[in-house]
Symmetry: C2
Subunit: 158 residues, 2 copies
C-alpha cells in the first residue's frame, strides 16, 4: 500500500529552548511569543504538550543566530510570569518526513520513529502536521538520522 | 504589512491523550505509535516537548471514536515501558490558522494566542508547521475561539 512519503527534509540551523512550569492560564503563551516577536526572533516550531496540573511547559526552536536574543527574552518573561526553569541547546537539528496526507495513515510516524530508534538516535522533540512529521535530534546525529529515515521509506538519499 | 493568514480551520472531532514520564531513550516513541498503528488508531497531532531530565511526556490527539482503543493501548504500553501517569479527554477541539509561509513571520502565532487570551480561552496544546499554527482548547469554547481568531486576522467568519 502506498505510504505517500515524498521526501526527507532536514535543518541544521536549529536551536531549542524550553521554559518549564509556566502557569497554565490564558495569556501566558501570548506574552512569551509577543516578547519574542518584539525582538524580531524568528520562531520555527512551537510545542506545548498536554498537562495534568496547573502548569505546563512550552518549548520552541529558533535559528541559531537568534538564540542569544531568545534566551534574554525567556529570562525576562520567566521572571514576569513566574515560570520555573528553562534550558537551551544549539547542538540540535531537525529531520522531517514530508508527504501528502500521510499523517493520518496509521504507522507512518511509527516507521520514522523506528528508523531513528534502530539507529540508537534519541528523539528530543516531536511535532506533526497533516503533511509533515518533524523530530528534533542531537545535531551530531543528523547525517545518520537523514540516512536511516531515507532508507526506511526507500527514498534515495540526496 | 501582509500577515499571510488565509484562513481559520477547526476540528471538533478531537480527543487528547497524554502519557507522562516515559523513559527518554531511543525506541520509546516507536513502541507507543507502533502499538497504536497496529490497532488502526488514526493519530492526528503528536506532540513531544523538550525535557531536562531522563523522562519526557508524549501527547497526541485522535478522532473521538478511537479514544477507547487508544486508551487501552496506552494502558498496556505504559506498563511495558515503565511510564508514569496518563490522562485523556474528549472534551477538546482544535483551532488552527493556516497560511503560506506565515510561521516564520515573528508575531503571527502571538496574534493567534492574543486573540484566545483576550477571550479567556486557555490553550491546552500547541503545535506548528510552516503553514499552520494549531491550538487545542476546551471543546465548549471552540465556537468562540474560531470567532475571535477570525476577527484578529480580519477574516470573515464562515
Ligand atoms: C501554557 C499556556 O499555553 C497557557 N495555557 C495559555 O493559554 O497561554
Ligand atoms: C521520549 C521518546 O521520544 C524517546 N526520546 C524516543 O526517542 O523514542
Amino acid at each position: 500500500k502506498e505510504i505517500m512519503v515524498s521526501g526527507v527534509a532536514y535543518d541544521v540551523n536549529v536551536a531549542k529552548i524550553a521554559l518549564f512550569d509556566v502557569p497554565d492560564q490564558p495569556g501566558i503563551a501570548y506574552r512569551l511569543f509577543k516578547a519574542l516577536a518584539d525582538e524580531r526572533v524568528n520562531v520555527d516550531m512551537i510545542i506545548q504538550s498536554a498537562k495534568r496540573n496547573h502548569t505546563n511547559d512550552i518549548s520552541f526552536t529558533v535559528v541559531q543566530d537568534d538564540l542569544g536574543t531568545a534566551v534574554k527574552v525567556v529570562e525576562r518573561i520567566k521572571a514576569e510570569i513566574g515560570a520555573g526553569d528553562f534550558i537551551f541547546d544549539d547542538g540540535v537539528a531537525k529531520v522531517s518526513i514530508v508527504g501528502a496526507g500521510m499523517i493520518t495513515r496509521p504507522g507512518v510516524a511509527a516507521m520514522m520513529f523506528e528508523a531513528l530508534a534502530d539507529a540508537g538516535i534519541n528523539i528530543e522533540m516531536i511535532s506533526t502536521s497533516e503533511v509533515k512529521v518533524s523530530c528534533v535530534v542531537k545535531g551530531d546525529q543528523i547525517k545518520q538520522a537523514v540516512q536511516v529515515v531515507h532508507a526506511k521509506f526507500d527514498l534515495a538519499a540526496d
